[in-house]
């Protein structure tokens, strides 16, 4: 599995069409996180994700610190596009609009 490191946080990379740098903060157990991943994969978008619940110690601290910068509520899923646009929760319409994808 390919990994990508951005600002000290290691993400798993999923191949697809390049729509900018997409970082997904999720939990391996969370329903809306899975929906978000399924949506991105259905639309064949390249993205990077981290399942924070599967991290520990310094790696988790680094990930949560980074997440807090974009989302003070530190909720999951959080999707960050090009380090400036943030989508909280599973929001297919917002993803379609911001990533220029066809509506469902």
């Amino acid at each position: 599995m390919d990994t990508v490191t951005v600002n000290g946080v290691e993400y798993r990379h999923v191949d697809g069409e390049d729509k900018g740098t997409i970082l997904l903060y999720g939990l391996s157990t969370c329903g809306w996180c899975k929906e978000t991943r399924m949506y991105l994969e259905l639309n064949e978008v390249a993205y990077n994700y981290i399942y924070v619940d599967l991290t520990s110690g310094d790696a988790r601290d680094a990930a949560m610190e980074e997440l807090e910068k974009y989302n003070p509520d530190m909720s999951f899923p959080t999707l960050i596009i090009n380090e400036d646009t943030v989508i909280l929760g599973y929001e297919p319409e917002k993803m379609a609009e911001l990533l220029d994808l066809p509506e469902e």
Partner: protein, 161 residues
């Protein structure tokens, strides 16, 4: 397929709450609560990050302390596991909602600083304990071992009065 859902639905409705009709989505959440139970030793909310320490995560044991407020405001809980009867009857669309946990924890910290958490009434024969999950109140020397209404453990109770 379906038995896990049916059992959970029956159990939940006995406590006065309702479950989403999306069987697959619900069963996946239930399986992931089980994953957390095996991982941490307690059924942490599958949609929030658990610390691994039960005493730090009491508010996010499923059903979490935020379920009632989310049902009240949106009609479903953060995970979209529990829904209101209104959402079921009127087939309302279920979607992702904001997580109120961080703000609630901060507010709680503030309240503690000002010591405004607990009401004191003189002359009561017993303290009153409140179940943080369903709001059940019990006037007795100690909180019950298990909430007789929603069946959560004693550590989900707070001293109310």
């Amino acid at each position: 397929m379906g038995k896990l859902y049916d059992d959970f639905k029956a159990k939940t409705e006995q406590t006065g709450y309702y479950v989403s009709t999306d069987v697959e989505f619900v069963e996946r959440l239930l399986e992931n609560i089980k994953v957390n139970e095996e991982r941490y030793g307690y059924p942490a909310c599958p949609c929030r990050l658990a610390s691994g320490k039960r005493e730090e995560d009491l508010d996010l044991l499923c059903p979490c302390d935020y379920r009632d407020e989310d049902l009240e405001e949106f009609g479903f809980c953060f995970c979209a596991l529990y829904v209101t009867k209104d959402v079921l009857d009127n087939n309302k669309k279920i979607h992702s909602i904001p997580d109120r946990r961080m703000k609630a924890l901060k507010a709680k910290k503030e309240a503690k600083k000002h010591d405004s958490e607990q009401i004191t009434i003189g002359g009561l024969q017993y303290p009153v304990w409140r179940c943080k999950v369903c709001g059940y109140l019990a006037a007795r020397p100690e909180a019950p071992e298990v909430c007789p209404i929603c069946h959560v453990d004693k550590d989900r109770f707070e001293r109310f009065i």
